[in-house]
């Protein structure tokens, strides 16, 4: 367990966070310049916070009150920085062996070879870093960090500089590795999909503050603020007014319509809230469906769309009298997989009925 509680004044904001990273993968997720890298540097001991406490498995690295500040050499933390930072004048083998001390030449060689094999680079010991691809350099950096048998592993944007297939394969490798390591791994990412894929614990950091921390599915389902909802992929932020809150159902007035939403916290009629609707959970109703009119059903026209090759984002403008945002060009952003887009012939058919299920809604 890595326990962090730090404060540090940075040029544009104060970094202030408290975080427990148990064995497993913790994703430090947030936009660039949120203080993520600074947090890792504090844990590794390459810089120190202004105040706070950092301890690993009960062993204190840093404590401003007790005036403890162990140098990085005595922390035994594997730290893979951005750009991997291999020593350019050393071979791959020498890079990996850099942190090995007190071993005979033969033992050192055996350890390095075993580690290179483990990261899939057996036989690369004599190569130079500049001869390797980005993904291979990343593996060497990981091997170099792991060979000292660290008590925790820090990864700063480990996949951001790689092409998509390499990234996918390295992500899988990291998951496999984590199962055999059983130590706290903290990795930084500003890619929500990556954070969701790899993390056991998702920590959302914005401008030096930890906005929310929990299991990824939990954070996505119950974001505590608009910032978290936005960063975890929610869209459709709608101004709403509470009409009633009874028997677990929240009735809210949004624009011209009345919607039923999950009733989470204590809300009274007249309260103003923000309703966020996850775009991938909005359902398109098939034309031939014989379902009776359901709650939260709306009709409208798709006025615009865009696709990233995997999914299509549709912009739906509701019919007059059903507008959610009467002043805007459209009311809802809806995301559907490309195959659904094709199967439903959305390209030709522009009029649709949509259902807003309760699990798509977040009341903020």
């Amino acid at each position: 367990m890595l326990a962090i509680q730090i404060r540090k004044r940075l040029s544009t904001f104060d970094l202030s966070l408290e975080l427990q990273a148990p064995s497993g993968v913790t994703a430090l997720f947030g936009p660039s310049g949120a203080g993520k890298s600074m947090t890792l540097a504090c844990i590794a001991g390459l810089t120190h916070p202004d105040a706070g406490r950092i301890a690993l498995n009960g062993f204190t690295f840093y404590d401003s009150d007790a005036r403890i500040n162990l140098p990085p050499q005595r922390r035994r933390i594997g730290y893979v920085m951005q750009d991997y930072l291999l020593f350019p004048h050393l071979t791959v083998g020498e890079n990996v062996a850099f942190g090995l001390q007190g071993l005979s030449r033969a033992e050192q060689r055996r350890t390095v070879d075993a580690m290179l094999e483990r990261v899939g680079l057996a036989g690369y010991a004599q190569r130079r870093p500049h001869e390797l691809s980005g993904g291979q350099q990343q593996r060497v950096a990981l091997a170099r960090a792991l060979v000292i048998r660290p008590h925790a592993l820090l990864l700063d944007e480990p996949f951001s500089a790689l092409d998509a297939p390499t990234r996918a394969s390295l992500r899988r490798d990291l998951l496999d590795l984590q199962r055999t390591l059983a130590l706290p791994v903290i990795f930084i990412t500003h890619d929500f999909g990556e954070a969701y894929l790899l993390a056991d614990q998702l920590a959302v950091l914005v401008e030096g503050r930890l906005l929310q921390c929990g299991a990824p599915a939990e954070v996505v389902a119950h974001p505590r603020s608009q910032d978290v909802a936005r960063l975890t992929g929610s869209r459709n932020f709608l101004a709403a007014e509470v009409a009633a809150c009874e028997q677990g159902v929240l009735t809210v007035r949004v624009g011209d319509v009345v919607l039923a939403a999950p009733c989470a916290s204590r809300l009274a009629p007249g309260d103003r809230v923000t309703l966020a609707i996850r775009p991938e959970r909005i359902m398109l109703v098939r034309k031939d469906a014989q379902t009776p009119a359901r709650r939260n059903t709306m009709h409208g026209v798709i006025v615009d769309e865009m696709s990233d090759g995997f999914t299509c984002t549709l912009f739906l403008r509701a019919d007059d009298g059903q507008r959610l945002r009467p002043d805007a060009a459209y009311d809802l952003e809806i995301i559907v997989p490309v195959y659904i887009y094709e199967r439903l012939h959305i390209a030709e058919d522009r009029r649709w009925a949509v259902i807003l299920p309760q699990e798509a809604m977040q009341v903020l």
């Binding site: 990085p72 920085m81 004048h89």
Partner: protein, 220 residues
């Protein structure tokens, strides 16, 4: 050519070698401090280290003469322990070393600043001592700048005239270096001998400059 007076060349090489060595062992640590450490008065130290580059050599020599001469406590002490500097070849070493010191510091400082400090950071997390990091990471990545600085220092020390003249004088066979000897030859209208010496020095200096530039260009 064969009956030329080789004593000044021999003395010049001796003085230059010792001066270069002196600058190497003092300049590299100072360059490291300036490149890597934050301490009060850092800017002032950096500026003072550059001073010999902008001061007229005679002014530099005058300061040295005043500091090390028989009138100063330091000079009296040096004379008392049997190690007088002024008007000896050792004085010429001091003059040449101080005149060339900025070139070493500047070259090495630039080289060290070109080494990504994050590499040293990684090395720290891997448990290696600061000493090991300097020898195994910093120095190997900056060695070109050190060789380049050494070549420049050597060339500058070899050519010093003003400061050497002020501190060591121009005593044939004892403190008369090449630069001073060439001056004497020209003054005495011995054009032929002067030409030989000038050519020799020019070839040497140009060679060193080429070496320095080659190495510096490859410093990433």
């Amino acid at each position: 050519m064969f009956d030329a007076n080789w004593a000044p060349l021999r003395l010049s090489l001796q003085v230059t070698l010792v001066a270069t060595l002196l600058v190497l062992i003092t300049g590299v640590p100072l360059a490291w401090l300036l490149a890597r450490k934050r301490f009060p008065g850092r800017d002032a130290v950096g500026a003072i280290a550059m001073l010999p580059l902008v001061l007229p050599p005679t002014v530099l020599g005058y300061y040295l003469l005043v500091t090390l001469g028989a009138q100063s406590p330091l000079g009296r002490w040096l004379a008392a322990v049997g190690f007088p500097l002024v008007f000896t070849w050792r004085g010429a070493v001091i003059a040449a070393a101080i005149a060339s010191f900025p070139l070493m510091v500047e070259s090495v400082r630039t080289g060290l600043e070109g080494v990504d400090p994050r590499l040293e950071g990684v090395a720290r997390t891997l448990g290696r001592s600061e000493w090991a990091i300097f020898w195994r990471v910093t120095l190997p990545l900056a060695w070109r700048s050190i060789v380049a600085g050494t070549a420049l220092t050597f060339a500058r020390a070899l050519g010093d005239f003003g400061a050497t003249l002020m501190v060591a004088g121009n005593i044939p066979g004892r403190t008369q270096t090449m630069s001073l000897y060439i001056y004497d030859l020209v003054q005495a209208n011995r054009q032929g001998e002067a030409n030989q010496m000038v050519l020799l020095i020019t070839v040497l200096a140009v060679t060193l400059l080429v070496v320095a530039r080659r190495l510096n260009r490859r410093v990433v």
